[in-house]
């Protein structure tokens, strides 16, 4: 089934997810939310690809679309050489074995009326993995792999702490021996002291099983730590994409730059770095402005930004950015105009 060795495990091309909003009815105007609007990326086997963004950026919808949990409006998703975006029935079931998901909220991701062991066993039964007699052993084995004890299979989810519940979620995702695991904000609902436990577990499992992760997060520090390559999303589009070293060392897109500077940290305080304050909130993905979607909040926006959508350019090898103001020589606007963080226009577009 798997393609050539050099082929990325996951290939996403021009993915679009548009939702219809507003209530149905003959007299109501139909509006569409452009939750994901033309997203493309590759994830090589055994690596971690991160998607960061704020609420409304479409990062979670991208994850759900890849899991076929959100309706795909356009574009393609290929997993290990098979067309995941169009698979149905048994083909889809076969592909689901190769792609699993870990959710954000460990309290709503496990059915409160099933025992932990049954939750982890369910995918084995439903996907008919291994012979039925061997499944008990496999479940016990999975519990061990995620740092739980086999006896804890008899417990119900409410009897576990948040971190332990997340471990059960990881075990369920591992059950079908997937190639790809989509991690949708897997640590953001956990206490800080527990986050490290889960992040270390994910890294250890990746090494052991050569797993590929698609890691969705709003936490830039976590993304920097765990991801090999990172895409920054804003209002349904990837505005910048690069490997972890380049992106954090020299962000090119003004949004990435502002986002990084907004993260409070002990290190940035020591260096006396001043936050770049973006005006306003991200506009809603319902009424999108023409041109660059960030233009309304961008301190460097010019006329062209408000009329023409910027093309995606590979400024440095494997470092893409969609911004009119980044020079062809790769100098971003915030380096050219260091004092431009003045009034950046009247905030975001007016809200209703």
């Amino acid at each position: 089934m798997s393609g050539p060795a050099d082929r990325p495990l996951l290939q996403v091309r021009d993915l679009k997810v548009h939702f219809r909003t507003g209530s149905r009815g003959p007299f109501r105007r139909q509006t569409f939310v452009h939750a994901v609007d033309g997203v493309s990326f590759d994830v090589p086997r055994g690596t971690t690809f991160g998607i960061v963004g704020e609420s409304g950026s479409g990062k979670s919808t991208t994850a759900l679309a890849i899991m076929r949990l959100a309706p795909i409006t356009g574009g393609t998703i290929d997993l290990a050489g098979a067309r995941l975006s169009e698979a149905e029935g048994n083909d889809l079931l076969a592909l689901r074995r190769k792609a699993q998901i870990i959710f954000q909220d460990p309290y709503s991701s496990l059915s409160p009326r099933m025992r932990a062991g049954a939750i982890v066993r369910e995918p084995l039964d439903l996907m008919e993995i291994g012979d039925p007699e061997g499944r008990d052993g496999r479940v016990a084995d999975l519990f061990g792999k995620v740092g739980l004890r086999a006896e804890q299979q008899a417990l119900f989810p409410h009897q576990f702490s948040g971190g332990q519940r997340q471990r059960i979620g990881v075990a369920r995702a591992l059950a079908s021996q997937p190639d790809l695991i989509v991690c949708d904000e897997p640590v953001s609902a956990l206490d800080v002291a527990i986050q490290a436990q889960i992040l270390n577990l994910l890294r250890a499992l990746q090494r052991e099983f050569r797993l590929t992760y698609l890691f969705i997060s709003h936490d830039l520090a976590v993304v920097q730590y765990i991801c090999d390559e990172i895409a920054v999303m804003y209002l349904g589009e990837i505005v910048e994409q690069a490997d972890r070293i380049s992106l954090f060392k020299r962000p090119l897109h003004p949004y990435t730059w502002a986002l990084l500077s907004a993260v409070p940290s002990a290190a940035s305080k020591r260096r006396g770095r001043r936050r770049v304050s973006l005006e306003g909130d991200p506009p809603s993905p319902i009424d999108l402005p023409p041109g660059c979607r960030f233009a309304g909040r961008c301190p460097f926006a010019e006329d062209i930004c408000r009329t023409e959508a910027p093309a995606r350019r590979e400024i440095f090898p494997k470092h893409w950015v969609s911004c009119h103001r980044v020079g062809d020589d790769g100098v971003p606007p915030h380096e050219m105009y260091p004092l431009a963080n003045g009034p950046g226009g009247p905030g975001g577009p007016a809200r209703p």
Partner: protein, 295 residues
């Protein structure tokens, strides 16, 4: 100590299922226990009373209008044709309870099916099913049930079906709301990613989590159905060949000022039955509601 795994602090002995925990909470509730005991007593009397007492409730056993405590043969007196009130009390419970239970079952069956489909599939399915529900909701349910019973031969089955058809709407709305909420939860999405079919997601994954409020409403519907049955019988739309409490009240309504006992005793029986299921319903509500359980 230093090597304890992440899950070490929870002893396995506390592996109590949510259902058992709810049952334990239920048993702590005094009024719920009272309801349970009362209902059990009513059911036992209705089941085993008639063969033990051995009197046909339709048989004339004394002078009409015998007050209670006068004739030792008929301790609770007789009605306007001389039938034994006590025999009616014992024998009438079966029909009343059977109609109550089966009508409640009917109500939940229809309501759950409609509500689950509407909530789970949403969109056009939801739209159509909810319009139908609203159509039934605006019909006065007692009159609907009367019309249904009057159109067909009045038998116990028909009465149960009529009550079910006339009163499933609120259950459907409740089930729909629960399904709408639960289908968005991540464990349902997780179920889909491991290959669960719609059928499995509806009946195996979502339903058990949607049950608590439905169980509570079903219990309360038993009470409503008992009253419905009594009402239909009172209006002369009951099955005339089967004794029921409602029939007893209905047939003695013209003589209520001459013989208070012929309506009072079956009325009290209906009151106690409805009270007992209501108490049980309230107790279940408390026990099954996880927010109250925290206290």
């Amino acid at each position: 100590m230093a090597d304890r795994p992440a899950g070490a602090e929870i002893p396995v002995a506390t592996a109590e299922s949510p259902a058992r925990e709810a049952w334990r909470m239920f048993l702590r509730n005094r009024s719920a226990i009272l309801g349970l005991v009362l209902l059990a007593a009513i059911i036992l009397v209705s089941l085993f009373g008639p063969p033990l007492y051995g009197v046909d409730p339709f048989k004339i056993r004394g002078a009409p209008f015998t007050p209670p405590g006068v004739d030792p043969n008929v301790p609770l007196g007789t009605d306007h044709v001389g039938r034994d009130i006590l025999a009616g009390m014992i024998g009438g419970g079966r029909a009343t309870l059977a109609v109550g239970a089966s009508a409640a079952l009917m109500t939940v069956a229809i309501g759950l099916l409609v509500g689950a489909m509407a909530g789970y599939y949403g969109g056009l399915v939801d739209e159509i099913l909810m319009r139908i529900t609203e159509f039934f909701q605006v019909l006065p349910s007692l009159i609907l049930a009367m019309v249904l019973v009057a159109l067909f031969t009045p038998s116990l089955y028909m009465i149960a079906i009529a009550i079910g058809v006339a009163s499933w709407q609120s259950t459907a709305r409740l089930a729909r709301a629960e399904f709408l909420r639960l289908k968005e939860l991540e464990y349902v999405k997780a179920g889909r990613t491991i290959g669960a079919t719609d059928r499995r997601l509806i009946w195996v994954v979502i339903l058990p989590n949607a049950l608590p409020p439905l169980i509570v409403s079903a219990t309360l519907i038993v009470g409503v159905a008992i009253l419905f049955e009594a009402g239909l019988s009172f209006l002369g739309l009951g099955d005339p060949n089967i004794m029921s409490w409602g029939l007893m009240i209905g047939s003695s309504r013209e003589y209520i000022f001459d013989s208070w006992w012929s309506a009072t005793f079956p009325g009290a029986a209906i009151f106690l039955s409805v009270l007992s299921v209501s108490l049980i319903g309230d107790g279940l509500n408390d026990a099954l509601n996880p927010k109250l359980r925290e206290r």
